[in-house]
Subunit: 503 residues, 2 copies
Amino acid sequence: MTVETDLAELKHRFQAIEDLHCAESVLTWDQATYIPSGGVEARARQLALLSSLAHERLTDPAIGRLLDSITPWAEAQGVDSDAAALVRVARRDYDRATRVPQAFVHRLAEHTATTYHAWERARPANDFATLRPLLETTVELSRELASFHPGYAHPYDALIDLAEDGMTVQAVRALFGDLRAGLLPLIEKIRARPALDDRCLTGDFPEPAQRAFGEAVVRAFGYDFARGRQDKTAHPFMIKLGRGDVRITTRYRSDHLSDGLFSTLHEAGHAMYEQGIDDALDGTPLFHGTTAGVHESQSRLWENLVGRSRPFWEHWYGRLKKAFPDALNGADLDTFYRAINRVAPSLIRTDADEVTYNLHVMLRFDLELAMLEGTLEVADLPDAWRARIRSDLGVTPADDRDGALQDVHWYGGIVGGAFQSYTLGNVMSAQFFAAARRDLGDLDAQIGAGEFGPLHGWLKTRLYRHGRKFTPPELVERATGAPLSIAPYLAYLNTKYGALYGL
Amino acid sequence: MTVETDLAELKHRFQAIEDLHCAESVLTWDQATYIPSGGVEARARQLALLSSLAHERLTDPAIGRLLDSITPWAEAQGVDSDAAALVRVARRDYDRATRVPQAFVHRLAEHTATTYHAWERARPANDFATLRPLLETTVELSRELASFHPGYAHPYDALIDLAEDGMTVQAVRALFGDLRAGLLPLIEKIRARPALDDRCLTGDFPEPAQRAFGEAVVRAFGYDFARGRQDKTAHPFMIKLGRGDVRITTRYRSDHLSDGLFSTLHEAGHAMYEQGIDDALDGTPLFHGTTAGVHESQSRLWENLVGRSRPFWEHWYGRLKKAFPDALNGADLDTFYRAINRVAPSLIRTDADEVTYNLHVMLRFDLELAMLEGTLEVADLPDAWRARIRSDLGVTPADDRDGALQDVHWYGGIVGGAFQSYTLGNVMSAQFFAAARRDLGDLDAQIGAGEFGPLHGWLKTRLYRHGRKFTPPELVERATGAPLSIAPYLAYLNTKYGALYGL
């Protein structure tokens, strides 16, 4: 009886924490879509209040006592039970939140706000010098944050584990090393071939037709508009506002097709993951996607493995041509397919193609690791960036705007623990897709016939419904029957781009 | 020094309460505009949580102690000072909230939710019988709510005072009696004249053009879109999401012009009131419009006194005709002016014209008063409604859907304290407008020239900037130099409709 009462009490408390986070999400969504300029200042204060109320509740010692009381019973339910997963994940969240002193949380939040505002001005001014002392403090604070979490072999392990439960620096380094060794020769070979022509993506693409087409595709994927919606924003994202309300955002360029189309597919992948979680987990910390990396595997799977595949366009290209008869006039299926898969080393991570993208990530991962380990001075970061991108991709940024100032991550949070997830997501996306193909029979034929139900169903059963019950390594093993591996990803890239470039 | 510290502490606490209410408003706004159907259930729980968090904070005994500490100093600042008003209004809110036991708050909330859901089904089914026992409980709960607030001559006084600070049953009864005596003969005379023709309002009015026209008008009024925005909803409303973020909502009928146009003007009036409050009051309970009645005076002033006036349309009608050249083809200014001011006794309050509208309100006010006093049984309400509307307006509802089941108020809250504010708002709107005219010179010429700056400025200075500093009676006296009076309102109606109907 005590366990039942305590379990009910714990769930009641977590429901309120979840509801506060969801309220925060409503405010965040509005801030990124419809807020008038006059409302921005008050909104920041409202968001800070909700965030601190949720944090207060999560760090309430009563949570720890309830978890102590419930754990023996929950573990007796079996390691795969919802109850066991609940106490496991709740304990992890509780420990992580309570280990960090409140004073540090405030110090970090203030420093982050200051640094972010400085970056907003410094980036367009190409002014790394102003940011240097701030970034030095960020590196110190990142080390300090790691120090609150004991028991890791490498200080950076704490930061990675916070983002990707169960991953270590050693594992990521090894995986990135192997991946890099596979990617560089492929890029070399592609660069020796004539460039693919992507001019058909430029032209007049009216926004309403882009919107209608994108929504038709993601509806066919299985994104449920009765439990979500799509709006416009500056930087597309997916956000959950509550059970039954998982929204996506996008942006359109009327002179170019790619941006709006693929960001819609990408965010829908994230959203289908959240929409697919078992409702029985609602109100608990399990009712979310596992980690940023696993989330990215789903956005990338639907965007790239499906959305940039030839079978997909065999079914959809006719419809796309009808939506944009003028702009796509003269571009046949093969021309279009080559255009959306053009590989071209570039300066900007978010514009990068599938093949070169991961080198952008590795560059950042290595540089931030070096800063945290103290082997790279912040003052030397811009030069280190330039040297690395030149040697990896053969391009050189004209200034720091497209170099060390490019991404918001280091200037809007801590240094360490964010970038690796993008590449882990790519790697996992191919491994999941290969396993689905093995289980579903002729997946290409299904996609080519516009049938996404089998794939979506496989992903729901193997991944989505579990929410946070399992860590990424556990989830990969359970879903695919094998540990995390770069082999499916490299095979996918080599096959696809080998055919595209005639290698 | 203690006072300073306590004042800072009090303001800090009220800022958080305001921020929680604003967060609630963001969730409410989204719920009424963009939420997907799947998100409705979780949203209700999120809203209830935010509401209870704000209530907890308002009823914290520390608020009472801080007010005790600050009051002598605040009162020494002078009765008109922000400090004195702050403790006056904060004390009123605190006392009102703490007097009502938490158990009662929950009981009332649960009963209200049940009754509202029952009404949603019972109204279309014309099923008063199902609602009768629920409404009986509502009447009891309304009496009980009044009983928590001591010191009133009449139990209903407490409910009116909660809505319209400083108003009493006696005052409202006297005012309504006089107003009724003035309205009935006017309606009688109008009914003896030929009806005005409003067919030009029916036709094809494309929504984008309606939206563009409405936004142009309210922008000219002075509604600031940098600190607000307009979206579509089912039941238009105005809502404040924070300082610098006061939004309006509207709806359109593509086959009729009135609904969208006048609801836009109406809500913009509410919004300009909120946008005009002195920023120095932000974060305190003073940073809102005074009461529902004063708020309604502003929505009605801009909708009716301005928006249904002939000078207004002398300036705007050319532009309206350009927006809808086909639908308004052949309707000249006078035809249009008569159409939007057609008087026709009807069954539905929200569709009523300026002249008959208040009789709908008085009917409800008298019936709810009789239910609270026990002189009318709930079981007899439908008959009493029919008898009264027949005798007042000469129309008879076919069933209770357009009778006792018509408005949500009794089925979505308490009985008593809501309806009088609509008519008080009408009365005040004319008194404010007459005072503005007296102070501003040729107001008709200004409006006829499309100049709203002087009127908006007068309202900001006399009303808007004060927020909740003064009660409605105080505000009327300060703004117009006279106590609340129906004379300006009757004079306005008699003059305007006398001319329109050739009386």
